[in-house]
Symmetry: C2
Subunit: 231 residues, 2 copies
DNA sequence: CGTTAACTTGAATTTTGTCAATGCCTGTGG
DNA sequence: CCACAGGCATTGACAAAATTCAAGTTAACG
């Protein structure tokens, strides 16, 4: 018996295909299934009452969708490219996880990664300007798409500019202008509309602010001394 | 033997006190312990290289801190008010969780709640304006501090305006101005500097956009048809 | 009761969003 | 294989929202 992994768990399930724009599930649907993505890219998003859309993540092959949830899905998952997935019922998935001491920590680790990504995104949305957001985004893709980013500077952007905007909390125009600026500064180069080449990874990282996001213990200590008066 | 709960798990650990401004741990520290908060309020935050601060959450009694993590803490946790906590070593905590089929789903549920909160926050930061952000924040506190919000309209705000600003992705001035507007419109009333009274919960919820954040399936279907040209 | 930090308010500036027009891929059909 | 249509992306001019800078005001604590 091979070492049980999350991938292996799904490997006997039939493969399903989704076309561009097709939804795996909708926000508010009963959370009945968990999916593993084999091929393709998905966007997961929520929509406010007046139509504003927020993309909370992009899903790539190897990722799971629909795990970290409640009774109902908290977001819609939609294919950006032709996509292949395998699925489990939620109940069966939970049983399998619960019964396997090997699988549990794997799932836990994934949730922690997801949480870490969510926090990075909160930092981006709360305090980074347009240029920093776009740079951070491109850098994240670069890191996700290949381990040694220096080796494969070409990055595919399967999502539209509108997707990027709704992920970065910007408008499509601001994303476009910011990309143009990065092109002009030779930090990236266009490679068709849906790919770029990173020409200056170091500079991109500097702009993104991913360089030295480090804490500086001596400083914080007395800066933010909040006082609780009604003790 | 009583039904095992996460609270009970900590109940034999000694109680530790932290003063205002004291840190339980720093971003980047080895993640050695998990904490349960008994009393007080904490802020958890990260700092960018140039000093910009992002508060990713406020922690109240009953919450756990330091769980959803990697080798190192991803954020600093600092007491906003005099705080009492109990702690476990991470290792011992993991063992206990792993050995208890009752505790595991409880922890899992908490992580899912945390993930859901993180997504709400991403929506807030990506697409809501200042007024919506502040209203959402006050509403969240109201819901957290008492079940039936109508019954206890007074809400304590132990954090400073700067804390609120760094949580909401705004400046301290914008938070102040927005609060003033809500005061003038009689939606909330000040109760000292560190508490408010909600005078019109319904209106506050409308402003926050928490009313009808519902999906409208018929609309999305063909709106965001991204195309993948390089198939 | 005075000192100091926190908060509020105002005016000017900057960034990003909005609206509108143009340009360019991409996929389709001749 | 090429021409064309339609969506997507880019660009520009203007408007709006939030930030920045600069005083003032208030409230907590010694």
């Amino acid at each position: 018996m091979p070492a049980p992994t999350l991938q292996a768990l799904f490997s006997n399930q039939p493969v399903e295909k989704f076309d561009c724009g097709a939804a795996l599930f909708w926000e508010g649907d009963d959370a009945t299934h968990v999916f593993e993505v084999l091929e393709g890219v998905l966007r997961i998003f929520r929509i406010l009452g007046d139509g504003r859309r927020v993309i909370t993540g992009f899903i790539y092959p190897g990722d799971l969708v629909g795990v970290s949830l409640k009774k109902r899905y908290l977001y819609t998952a939609e294919a950006i490219t032709p996509t292949k997935v395998r699925r489990f019922t939620r109940m069966r998935f939970e049983t399998e996880i619960n019964e396997s001491p090997e699988l549990r920590p794997q799932l836990f680790a994934r949730l922690c990664d997801e949480m870490a990504a969510a926090q990075d995104q909160m930092v981006l949305l709360a305090r980074k300007n347009a240029e920093e957001r776009v740079a951070s985004f491109l850098l994240m893709l670069a890191r996700r798409l290949c381990q040694d980013a220096a080796l494969c500077p070409e990055i595919e952007l399967p999502m539209t500019r509108l997707d990027m905007a709704d992920y970065l909390g910007l408008t499509i125009e601001t994303v476009s202008r910011t990309m143009t600026k990065l092109f002009n500064r030779k930090i990236i180069a266009p490679s068709g509309r849906h790919a770029i080449i990173i020409r200056n990874m170091k500079e991109l990282a500097t702009i993104a602010g991913d360089d030295d996001e480090d804490f500086r213990p001596t400083i914080h200590a007395n800066v933010h001394q909040a006082v609780w008066p009604h003790a």
